[in-house]
Amino acid sequence: MTLDLPLVFALLMGAAILAYVVLDGYDLGVGMLMPGASAAEQDVMVASIGPFWDANETWLVLGVGILLVAFPAAHGWILGALYLPVAGMLIGLMLRGVAFEFRVKAEGWHRELWNWLFWFGSFVASFAQGFMLGRYLTAFQPGWAYFLFALLVGAALCGGYVLLGATWLVLRTEGELQRRARAWARWGLGWVALGVALVSLATPLVSEAVREKWFAWPRILYMSALPLATLAAWLWVWRSLDRSDGKPFAGTVAIFALAFGGLAYSVFPYVVLGGMTIWQAAAHPSALMVVLVGAAIVLPVLVGYTAFAYRVFRGKVRTERYEH
């Protein structure tokens, strides 16, 4: 049996993008929640993500890197079609990333300005990512209805990241801030319900191929397990929000993983929906093989030291000042 390299890389890319969405999702969510907190709480919120955000953002480089390396033809196509939202996302990520460092070193109105840019960057990056998802799922078709759809997905992803950020804060903080985070999480859950419903309804409407994959008899019988599991996770998060510190975040991660799995199932085997399959877009097997060998060696080490870093910073955020 020969190894289906494009398939392996499609799975790797999916895993990297899901890791990015969950990990940087909670960073961006916390960023978007900043205006709702007091100055002291803002410091705690930033401290809760401070040790992680650099590495979290690196998953985006890995996801896009795999797209670039394994599916070069699709990289140019997709990112060319999404050029302006990508530029918007990058500028958002830049503002968020540097505001992180600048805000702790600034005082007075400077600090307020960087706080605002931190929020603004987080929001722009999140919204742009949702917008890109919306455009991608409708195969970049022109027309105002498609743009409206992309705008709605953008808003829904912001809500999803807010949910991730809020449940992360429930996990990592205590007292008044934690209580407030629970309320924010309910609000985020509403947006997530809207977003998942919207995407689930719209994607089959837009694409014949997607419709076929989900609703053909008898496939619909076992494929319906996915939306049902998502619903169960949603209800679990809703019920556990007032009782547990860890379950809401775990449940939210499950919602994201299930929704992501559903999208991946819809799109597969295309890398550009209806335009290019993973096998058509794939790089030469020799290049894929050399990367796969490296990934097989490095990824376990990488997961190991990432786990180490999360272990070092486990538990509630300490309010003491760090090196900054």
Binding site: A47, G50, P51, F52, D54, A55, E57, T58, L60, V61, L62, V64, G65, I66, L67, L68, V69, A70, P72, A73, H75, G76, L79, G80, Y83, L84, V86, A87, L90, I91, L93, M94, L95, G97, V98, F100, E101, F102, K105, A106, A283, H284, S286, A287, V290, V291, G294, A295, L299, L302, Y305, T306, F308, A309, V312, F313, E320, Y322, E323, H324
Partner: protein, 437 residues
């Protein structure tokens, strides 16, 4: 200009701007990481709280620099595909794996241990914390290794072949250790060492001008000045060897750098001139007879290939000519400053006179200018090729509309200008406040 060539110019401007902005920060951090290791080790060995305060001060500057590098670097992983779709289609089987190895071996390593280094001092033992600092340094060095392997391969490709019309790697060791790679890697690592050394010395001098009694700043000034005094002459030698390597593999680049229009024997060294690309000659030239032949061939009568051998396929002359001279001029001034300071500081308790402090303060960002000049020489010197002999820059562009390029370029320019200004103001402010024990 035609629409296509205008879009090409915009794509090049945007990518060049981004990469020039990005390189500023790794240029500092690749070496600054090892200054941090040094400060941390000094503290662990002596228990002197002053060294810890010094470490904490420079960690703040490192963290800020790192964030700037990360956010501008992410942008590049997108622009590879959007600005140069033809690049990955043609050489993706080589460029892709090299970039992938950089992400896998370097980016995660440095980013993850950075978190431990910045926030973990009270959560892990001093040894583990030192290890985290070392890992950050290893990560930045690995990153330089992979990206320079790719850059050098684009300059002097080796180890590749074709399979059914697709360009693939036949021998990865030859791809990575291509002819210009060892020279370029050493030259860049030394450039980073000098950029960091002059930054450390410059910001410390700035602090000493405001607070002459600050013992911590005096110590870091000493560290920076001595590192600079050792690395500057090494860099001059490495640069010369890199130049000889370029003469062998990319003679057109050297001909443009030296503004040698005609192939001849006993070529003079042009100290200054205004190269005229249209009329293919130098105006207002000041020359030293036979010196170019002597430097490049170690023989005053040797023949050097002129641009006429490569016309019209050679890089533009004026930018290379001036950028190279800018780099060399800064190198000479660095040497003078560093050696004068090292001489004054040869005794332990010595302090630098104020004019030298002002000199270092003025040279705080001199490494950036020299690095950018060198980068302009090597990248413009590759034109009209993107990958020498394999892919032309014009063939790799395309895809994105001019209006989109223009709009995003404006956005990037604005954000970069604000970020750069804020960065320079903030690190000067941090250093000006001094280390707090």
């Amino acid at each position: 200009m035609t629409e296509a060539s205008e879009a090409l110019l915009l794509a090049r401007t945007q990518f060049g701007l981004n990469i020039a902005f990005h390189i500023l920060f790794p240029a500092i951090n690749v070496a600054l990481a090892w200054f941090l290791v040094y400060f941390r080790v000094r503290h662990l060995r002596s228990g002197d709280p002053q060294w810890l305060a010094t470490y904490k001060l420079w960690v703040r500057i490192f963290a800020l620099t790192f964030a700037m590098g990360v956010v501008s670097g992410i942008t590049m992983s997108f622009q590879f595909g959007t600005n140069w779709p033809g690049y990955m289609l043609k050489v993706g089987n080589i460029a892709g794996p090299l970039l992938a190895y950089e992400v896998l071996t370097a980016f995660f390593l440095e980013a993850t241990f950075l978190g431990v280094m910045l926030f973990g001092m009270n959560r892990v033992s001093p040894r583990v914390h030192l290890l985290a600092t070392v890992m950050v340094g290893v990560g930045t060095a690995l990153s330089a290794f992979w990206i320079l392997a790719l850059n050098s391969w684009m300059q002097t490709p080796a180890g590749h072949g074709y399979d059914a019309g697709q360009l693939i790697a036949e021998d990865w060791l030859q791809v990575i250790f291509n002819p210009s790679f060892p020279y370029r890697l050493v030259h860049m690592l030394l450039a980073s060492g000098l950029t960091a050394a002059f930054l450390v010395a410059g910001l410390s001098a700035w602090r000493l001008l405001r607070a002459p009694q600050d013992a911590g700043a005096a110590r870091t000034l000493r560290s920076g000045a001595f590192v600079a005094a050792v690395l500057t002459p090494l860099q001059i030698v490495a640069g010369d060897l890199h130049g000889l390597n370029t003469l062998e593999h990319q003679p057109a680049k050297i001909a443009a750098v030296e503004a040698i229009w005609h192939t001849q024997k006993g070529v003079p060294l042009v100290l200054f001139a205004i190269p005229d690309d249209a009329r293919r000659r130098n105006d207002f030239a000041i020359e030293v007879p036979k010196l170019a032949s002597l430097i490049l061939r170690h023989d005053a009568e040797a023949e050097l290939q002129g641009l006429d051998r490569f016309a019209p396929e050679h890089p533009p002359v004026a930018p290379l000519f001036f950028a190279f001279r800018g780099m060399v001029a800064i190198g000479v001034l660095m040497l003078a400053l560093a050696w004068t300071a090292a001489w004054c500081l040869r005794r332990r308790a010595a302090v630098l006179p104020r004019p030298l402090l002002w000199g270092f303060a003025a040279f705080t960002f001199s490494g950036w200018i020299a690095t950018l000049c060198g980068w302009l020489v090597t990248e413009i010197g590759r034109q009209p090729w993107l990958v020498t002999g394999i892919l032309r820059t014009a063939e790799a562009a395309g895809g994105v509309r001019e209006a989109s390029l223009g709009a995003s370029l404006t956005g990037y320019l604005l954000v970069y200008a604000v970020m750069l200004l804020a960065y320079m103001v903030v690190i000067t402010h941090i250093a000006g406040e001094g280390a707090k024990a």
